[in-house]
């Protein structure tokens, strides 16, 4: 039972006390983002093509891997995720004028990325099944010949069991409805604070707490229905 390290905004009245070293890094990163966004907007205003591209390239290089990984959690297929990531940055390029700077750039970027990925998955569900929808093509999926359901294998092969467990839990994550899925992803995988998730989602911290609780409850319920053995300690 290890609680996560504190990484809250000290200005937030609900934030915990103390500032971890990670906070300093985050703040420096946020400041650099702000400068780059400022340069981008100034270059655009001045019609400075070189400056515009250079600033945007820097933002791209800083976030491309993180955004690709975030998108991959929704899309599951790396190549498809790359296309969606490209769409995210095209949107960011077009909409950066509208970024108010009230929140951190990365929370705004995450919002664009999460919305784009959710829309993409919703559109894909309406399309007929194609090759990349095959679960066996997904990153980290169990290999051919391995059991694809349940944990009844008699072989006490821990790596294999783990792969199977991962497959099941991914399936359940994918089945979570929005906005619970995104709230859970931002917390568990991106390790964002409640405040940051609230900024990304455009809601209050109380709503984030409630969504997180419901997301975990739904996850547990689906697991109990499909694979209760996984909940046993």
């Amino acid at each position: 039972m290890t609680p996560q390290p504190d990484h809250r905004d000290p200005k937030d009245p609900r934030a915990p006390e103390g500032v971890s070293p990670g906070d300093e890094g985050s703040r420096a990163e946020a400041l650099e983002d702000r400068i780059l966004v400022q340069r981008f907007l100034e270059a655009k205003e001045a019609g400075d093509r070189e400056g515009l591209e250079a600033a945007f390239r820097m933002l791209l290089l800083r976030y491309q891997e993180r955004i690709h990984r975030l998108v991959l959690r929704y899309v599951r297929d790396p190549l498809e995720a790359e296309d969606v990531t490209q769409d995210v940055f095209l949107k960011v390029y077009r909409k950066l004028d509208g970024f108010q700077g009230d929140s951190a750039f990365f929370t705004w970027l995450y919002r664009v990325a999460a919305n784009t990925a959710v829309d993409h998955v919703a559109k894909r569900k309406r399309r007929p099944l194609h090759l990349s929808d095959d679960p066996s093509a997904l990153v980290g999926s169990p290999k051919d010949g391995e059991p694809r359901s349940g944990l009844s294998s008699e072989t006490p092969d821990e790596p294999m069991l783990r792969r199977e467990r991962v497959r099941i839990t991914r399936e359940i994550c994918d089945a979570l409805p929005e906005p619970y899925k995104t709230t859970l992803f931002l917390r568990e995988f991106e390790e964002l604070s409640y405040l940051e998730i609230a900024e990304v989602s455009g809601c209050s911290i109380g709503t984030v707490e409630s969504r997180l609780f419901r997301a975990r409850a739904r996850f547990r319920k689906l697991l109990e229905e499909r694979h209760p053995e996984l909940l046993q300690e």
């Binding site: 039972m1 504190d6 006390e17 093509r49 070189e50 891997e65 991962v166 859970l184 409850a217 996850f219």
Partner: protein
């Protein structure tokens, strides 16, 4: 601690989804997510040390948390030149700089280098090919020369032989009647 549901399980089966989280649920969740203030954390840890049902409740939330985290896909690397492709797409879509200025394109030196490397490689290949052909032809030329030499020697020998034959014929034709005459004369 919630007086109505002391130590009740977090996410109790069958009634989790629509249930409004109580204060205790949120407290435990905030604890695991590192969202408690130091004083709240200390208070909760003191209670956890005392109350086994509360510990069980926390363990249930933590179990779900761990399973979710385990499902995170492994990072897949982006294709090489991803940033270049995005910027090219921006230019193509007309949102960015309309004309691609070589000076303003940070990828241009790299592209030029690649182009010149390709040209240099092609030249080297041609040179190598030329040398190879020359060597092959050179070897073949040596054989050819031998053949040519052989042919011309043969022709020369034939010509010499023809000349010798002609001379012999001429000599025979001169000496022939005389000899015959001599023979006829009884010499």
């Amino acid at each position: 601690m919630n007086g109505d549901d002391p130590g009740g399980p977090a996410f109790p089966p069958g009634r989790t989804e629509g249930r409004h989280p109580d204060r205790e649920d949120l407290l435990l969740q905030r604890y695991l997510d590192g969202e408690l203030r130091a004083i709240e954390r200390r208070e909760l840890e003191a209670r956890l040390a005392e109350e086994a049902p509360l510990r069980d409740r926390l363990a249930r939330i933590e179990r779900v948390q761990n399973l979710v985290r385990e499902s995170d896909p492994e990072a897949a690397p982006l294709g090489l030149g991803f940033a270049d492709r995005v910027l090219a797409e921006i230019r193509k879509s007309g949102d960015g700089p309309v004309e691609e200025s070589p000076a303003s394109d940070p990828g241009e030196p790299l592209r030029l280098l690649r182009r010149w490397t390709a040209v240099a490689a092609a030249i080297l290949l041609l040179l190598a090919l030329g040398m190879l052909i020359r060597l092959t032809v050179g070897t073949a030329g040596g054989d050819g020369r031998l053949e040519a030499e052989g042919r011309s020697r043969h022709r020369f020998e034939r010509e010499v032989l023809e000349i010798l034959d002609q001379r012999a014929e001429r000599l025979e034709s001169k000496a022939g009647p005389k000899t015959m005459r001599n023979a006829a004369d009884g010499r």
